[in-house]
């Protein structure tokens, strides 16, 4: 049995993206031009982000004084953490950060469970209406969230809710309104479906002979084999959850439940401090960039798989 699983795991793991085509080496002139273009492109994509992080350590007067030259991108002058302490004084940053982490982690965690269970039923069980269910899920993929954002706002405002004081109407200004609508995700179901469909069905039969029920097969056989699919779904659900802006802007009013992305709006009001804006932007970006660089292969493969894999 373990042999079968190891074999399957090997077979179904998506091939890593190897971009080196391994063809003949291009001539020298083309190599030089190619390298030059690459370096220019790298500056275009990299320098603005470098500028953001560097400026977060400078006072506003120096940011503007440095703009004209190369020192805009260099850590020179009166560097300090003043902008960072300013961020914490100006907004309840720790609360915003906690909210964002809570919302993202719950959305991804619950999303993996709910979507993989649905995909398991669709890919490996037989029931009436199966094709129709899959068809409806796939059809919803073309509808962008922005189309239904306003009707959804109206709808969640009518949903029943409960707190320590009893029942009431409306989900606005809560955590759940930022989590629950995004747990079930048609694209995640599709990714799991595709992956589960590629795992040999003989495993299910073997497990049934051993007396395992379907839920056991899902939990102990199929899910452990689906590591790459779980990673892909986790990444593809985490980024939008962390980056959400339009929805929390509309459904949250109190600072107690607002996420970090909406928090940036506070810095545009009254005396604008660009240094503080850059500091805020850096704190909410750099951890994600580090995660990205650490798990680069998974990130790139996940995002590419939402493109043309399969």
């Amino acid at each position: 049995m373990t042999e079968v699983i190891a074999h399957v795991a090997d077979r179904t793991a998506p091939a890593p993206l190897e971009h080196e085509a391994g063809r003949t080496r291009p001539p020298v002139l083309r190599r030089v031009v190619g390298m030059a273009v690459r370096i220019v492109a790298a500056l275009v994509f990299g320098l603005p982000l470098l500028f953001m992080v560097i400026s977060s350590f400078k006072p506003d007067t120096q940011i503007f004084a440095d703009l004209g030259g190369i020192q805009a991108f260099l850590p020179v002058g009166a560097l300090s953490l003043d902008n960072y302490t300013g961020v914490f004084e100006r907004v309840p940053f720790a609360t915003f950060l906690f909210n964002s982490i809570l919302i993202s982690v719950l959305t991804v965690g619950l999303g993996i469970i709910v979507n993989s269970m649905a995909a398991f039923a669709l890919a490996r069980l037989r029931f009436r209406g199966q094709k129709l269910a899959l068809g409806i899920i796939l059809a919803t993929l073309i509808v962008p969230f922005e189309v239904m954002a306003l009707p959804l706002l109206w709808e969640v405002n009518l949903l029943p809710n409960v707190d320590s004081l009893g029942f009431y109407q409306g989900w606005l200004d809560t955590y759940q309104v930022q989590i629950v609508p995004f747990i079930a995700n048609a694209f995640s179901i599709f990714l799991f479906y595709q992956y589960f469909d590629s795992i040999p069905k003989e495993l299910d039969e073997a497990a049934t002979v051993d007396g395992a029920g379907w839920f056991r097969i899902y939990r102990s056989i199929v899910m452990p084999l689906a590591g790459p699919a779980v990673a892909t779904v986790a990444i593809l659900m985490f980024l939008p959850a962390w980056n959400q802006y339009l929805w929390p802007l509309m459904v949250t009013q109190s600072e107690a439940v607002r996420p970090v992305m909406v928090g940036i709006d506070y810095f545009k009001q009254l005396n604008v401090s660009w240094g503080q804006i850059m500091a805020y932007a850096s704190i909410i970006t750099v951890p994600i960039l580090i995660l990205f660089i650490a798990f680069q292969r998974s990130f790139v493969n996940s995002i590419a798989s939402s493109g043309v894999k399969g």
Partner: protein, 310 residues
């Protein structure tokens, strides 16, 4: 991801086996496993989509003591008489028409650039990808500063003796400025998708072309470009639909101004449906947006079918 693309991938699904457990038991389990996802998808995806069609013909308000009244096509009449609506429709379409070829073309160039065997390919790919992992909220704030009349871009231009415009304050350049930064942010995504497409082209096709003495350009025109057909369709459709949803950049950088030069359909929907609480009117705007998406999907289906016939 569109149903057409998805459906194409689903076709080679192997025949399902009858499960070893009784099929009645299997059906119950299947529905139980589908239940959480089904409830969530119906509540937060299918109902809001349906509501868009219903509310667009009512005077529904976000918060209102009396129930919504059916008012026929009044919302659409008001919409079509409103200059701001036409400005937002025009801007949305211009944004899309410009950014689709611009962004996908440059992304293809980058992909071809990093697809050759050369030192540091991984490093460059990572750099090109960084803006994508950065939230659009952060990118908007960063570029808001870079675009200031005395900001980073104009300071650099001044070094070369060029007097830069007030990028976001001038109706002639505001939309262009937003297009440039949006392309900068998302290009890494489409580079990776193009790369994945390039990987699917068998290397021996290039070897055969080399043997036939084909030039690099001939190889691109006769091997690469036809080989990217599916990738191309996918990229065009996803950029187009994403471009229709333009909101965050506008909300953070220009608030639709100056003189409605950057207002968009989604921005108008949020203005009316959230800030002015006119859900019915906002739903009418959303419906126009939905029709645009449908038209693009139908065109894409038509074009791909046409190509398969040839």
């Amino acid at each position: 991801m569109t149903p057409a693309v998805v459906a194409a991938r689903l076709e080679p699904s192997p025949p399902r086996r009858r499960g070893p457990a009784g099929s009645r038991n299997q059906r119950t389990i299947a529905w139980l496993m589908m239940l959480p996802a089904a409830v969530l998808i119906i509540t937060f995806l299918i109902v809001p989509i349906g509501l868009t069609f219903v509310l667009a013909f009512t005077d529904a308000k976000l918060i209102s003591p009396r129930p919504a009244q059916f008012i026929g096509v009044d919302n659409f009449v008001r919409l079509f008489e409103n200059g701001t609506f036409w400005a937002s429709l025009r801007n949305t379409i211009i944004f899309t028409i410009v950014i689709v070829p611009f962004q996908s073309g440059l992304a293809l160039g980058l992909a071809l650039l990093v697809n050759t065997k050369m030192r540091g390919t991984n490093f460059f790919r990572t750099i090109y990808f960084l803006p994508l992992v950065t939230s659009i909220v952060v990118v908007s704030m960063l570029w808001l500063f870079m675009y200031q009349p005395n900001g980073l871009i104009n300071s650099i231009l001044a070094r070369f003796g060029i007097q830069g415009p007030d990028w976001l304050g001038n109706p002639a350049t505001a939309l262009l400025a937003i297009i440039l930064m949006s392309a900068w942010q998302a290009m890494g995504l489409h580079m990776v998708v193009w790369l994945a497409g390039l990987q699917t082209i068998p290397a021996d096709l290039y070897e055969a072309a080399d043997l036939d003495g084909a030039s690099k350009w001939q190889q691109f025109a006769n091997v690469t470009w036809p080989g990217l057909r599916q990738t191309r369709t996918f990229i065009l459709i996803t950029i187009t639909i994403a471009a229709f949803g333009l909101f965050t950049q506008v909300n953070l950088m220009t608030q639709g101004g100056p003189l409605n030069a950057t207002t968009t359909l989604v921005y108008q929907a949020v203005q009316t449906g959230f800030r002015q609480q006119q859900t019915g009117y906002a739903s009418a705007i959303s419906l126009v947006f939905f029709v645009l998406v449908l038209i693009v999907t139908l065109i894409q289906r038509y074009l791909t079918r046409d190509k398969e016939v040839r």
